[in-house]
């Protein structure tokens, strides 16, 4: 009987096995890293219609977050300030600045500035902003140190597993409610005991049910 296959084909099974292992592991690794929101979403930094600097306002000038984002403690949705809020100061401060042309235009016409949303939550995930602040979760836990950002960027993946990480163990993120906007807050030495106390007092029980967020 003549040989049908050349001799090198004897090595084929081993080569195929190696290829499957290498490319399989490579493919999994590629998706694991590049497919994760830690890669695809973190660092999203859109250019806003007005070159507003959070570093200048919240950092150097020390303004509280709630001066502009005024409803974050009361509303399910964190609000972006109206043009009028900007003009509270900017009628007097730098009234002629070129950077503020879009703001003055909006003020004159009554047409809102179209800020670009940085933190995009999917519509099928229910999220209540005020609940988290009143539980004592600091801004910095989700948004990063805004006071140091020239241009705001997404710091956390906002993936479901990221949400669940905190819902399963909120302790390291809890702080007194009057400290939530403080970007330089140092947790007390007995953070664990403090967290236990807060959870007890407020009856905090972060949901892990599907229907907690997917309502």
């Amino acid at each position: 009987m003549s040989q049908i296959f050349p001799q090198w084909t004897n090595k084929l099974p081993a080569v195929l096995l190696a290829a499957v292992l290498v490319f399989g592991a490579g493919g999994v690794g590629f998706l694991w890293y590049y497919g994760s929101p830690k890669y695809t979403d973190v660092g999203y930094r859109p250019t806003q219609p007005v070159p507003f600097s959070h570093k200048l306002h919240a950092g150097d000038l020390g303004m509280d977050c709630r001066y502009c984002h005024s409803n974050i403690e009361r509303s399910a949705i964190a609000n972006v300030p109206a043009t009028q809020t900007c003009m509270n100061c900017h009628t007097l401060v730098l009234p002629q600045s070129e950077k503020l042309i879009a703001v003055r235009e909006s003020w004159a016409t009554g047409k809102p500035i179209e800020w670009v949303n940085v933190h995009l939550l999917p519509q099928y995930a229910y999220f209540n902003h005020s609940l988290h602040l009143n539980a004592g979760i600091g801004c910095i836990s989700c948004h990063g140190n805004i006071a140091e950002m020239e241009k705001v960027q997404q710091m956390q993946p906002l993936s479901m597993s990221w949400c669940l990480d905190c819902h399963r163990n909120p302790d390291p993120h809890l702080r007194p409610v009057d400290q939530v906007t403080n970007m330089n807050y140092a947790p007390p030495a007995d953070q664990a005991a403090f967290a236990e106390r807060v959870k007890e007092e407020k009856k905090l029980n972060p949901t892990q049910d599907c229907s907690g967020c997917h309502r």
Partner: protein, 482 residues
């Protein structure tokens, strides 16, 4: 049949073939020019398969709403057809694994295509839950894969057990079938006359040359796979039954479900093997390989498993009465005398009454009778799952009672799954040896090492010895199976 056979009722293969004529006969089916009849049947099956693809395509585009499922019957034809097809698969595993371990040599004539039938039936079965999930592109969610949603399958859900059970079942059946095919694939490779056939069969024969060491490893591998597959015969349909039994619905929440489902699965599986065997043996003239003896044995198994199924039907009624649970009692009375009474009595007729014909030797050795009965049994077993499903139409609260009727898309998907099954099966008949040549040679009288000296040692002189056929000296494949 010739008079020779009359003398040797133990002979499994009739016509007293030589090793080489077995190879010749079975290989020729694959090697001959494609017959017109095959082309016509394949065209028909493939057209029905196209209808399935259309129905599934529209389902993916439009959603589950095109089916008749709606509260309170939240799953319907999808689960019925799933259980139906998984059940059919069981005969293949029983024949290939359990009968192998029990050294039932008559299995060799039917195990190859029973196993093929298993694999194709499981493919049809897997289709239904895959499209039932609605978003078929997210099907990988049923697998425990680490992901950025931190989502993990619900291990308390029998639907997840299904995924593992049927997945394991498919993998094991496929391996078992393929390992069994290797010696025969090598035969086809060695007989191949065209380059393409040589290469194609050559690849899948994995370099088999029929040497002693290879046979030793092969038989051990086959034995191990039989050992692995044996518990699957019992476990797979038990787990499928928990889809129903772990719910708290009267009529479903019973411990009899696992054994009852397994018996039904083997029952329907043998019926399907019978239907296919009768057709194949007629068309490809395999009467010497699949003898009346084989068919009768399968009929006896159907009689036994049919009685088990009948006993389960009776037991359900008994327990409903004995439990004094009014909901349980209502569920069964409603089955038999409610709005779907016709489905129940079709089931009873086909599954319990009809197989009783096989008590008569005359009837269970009559080809026409067994063909009709085998088809009726599968109709009955389909209705069994339909009847179980319809329990959903009337549960605790009369205010939430409902009605179920399939839509055209349900029907097209169900009929289409038969197209998928027969397309695959016809491809198998055309391109692979439908009877295991190597194993059949093993049960020929010549394969007995004492065959040549049988005359001298045979105590019973009244039995005429076999006429000795010439035995081929070992070509690469000639001695295969020894």
């Amino acid at each position: 049949m010739s008079a020779k056979v009359e003398h040797h009722p133990e002979t499994l293969i009739q016509g007293n073939p030589k090793f080489s004529s077995v190879t010749q006969h079975i290989s020729q089916i694959v090697e001959d020019k494609t017959k017109m009849g095959w082309i016509l049947l394949f065209g028909l099956s493939a057209s029905i398969l196209m209808m399935l693809l259309g129905a599934v395509g529209y389902l993916l585009f439009e959603g589950i709403g095109i089916w008749g499922n709606n509260q309170p019957v939240s799953w319907a034809f999808d689960i019925v057809n799933f259980v139906f097809w998984v059940g059919i698969g069981h005969a293949g595993t029983l024949i290939s694994a359990i009968l192998f371990l029990f050294r039932q040599k008559w299995r060799t004539s039917i195990n190859r295509f029973a196993e093929a039938m298993t694999i194709f039936a499981v493919i049809c079965a897997l289709l239904f839950p895959s499209i039932h999930v609605g978003r078929a592109w997210l099907l990988y969610w049923v697998m425990p894969l680490p992901n950025q949603m931190a989502m993990w399958p619900n291990f308390r859900s029998p639907l997840l057990w299904d995924m593992f059970a049927v997945g394991t079942y498919f993998t094991c059946s496929l391996l078992f079938w393929y390992v069994g095919l290797i010696p025969d694939l090598a035969t086809l490779r060695d007989r191949a006359t065209t380059k393409i056939r040589k290469i194609a069969y050559g690849i899948f024969a994995l370099g088999w040359h029929g040497g002693n060491t290879q046979w030793k490893h092969y038989e051990l591998a086959y034995l191990i796979l039989a050992g692995i597959s044996t518990p699957l015969v019992l476990s797979v349909h038990s787990i499928v039954s928990t889809d129903f039994a772990t719910s708290v619905l009267p009529g479903w929440h019973t411990t009899i479900f696992p054994p009852y489902f397994v018996a039904g699965a083997i029952f329907s599986g043998f019926a399907m093997v019978m239907t296919l065997a009768l057709i194949a043996r007629k068309i490809y003239k395999l009467e010497n390989y699949i003898t009346l003896n084989h068919l009768e044995k399968m009929n006896k198994i159907m009689l036994v498993t049919g009685m088990m199924v009948g006993y389960s039907y009776g037991c359900e009624f008994f327990v409903a009465w004995y439990s004094s649970n009014p909901y349980e009692q209502f569920a069964f009375i409603n089955r038999a005398f409610g709005p779907y009474w016709w489905a129940y009595w079709t089931m009873i007729t086909c599954n319990v009454v009809v197989p009783q014909l096989f008590w008569s030797k005359k009837l269970r050795t009559n080809l026409a009778v067994m063909f009709v009965v085998s088809i009726l049994i599968n109709v009955g077993m389909w209705f069994e799952r339909f009847v179980i499903l319809l329990t959903l139409t009337r549960d605790f609260l009369p205010s939430s009672w409902g009605w179920y009727w399939p839509t055209i898309w349900d029907g097209m998907t169900m009929v289409g799954s038969f197209g998928l099954f027969f397309t695959l099966f016809l491809l198998f008949l055309r391109f692979l040896p439908m009877i295991s040549m190597a194993e059949v040679k093993n049960v020929l009288p010549q394969a007995d090492p004492h065959y040549h000296v049988a005359d001298d040692h045979n105590a019973d002189k009244s039995v005429k010895p076999h006429p000795k056929p010439g035995i081929e000296p070992g070509t690469a494949m000639g001695g295969a199976g020894l």
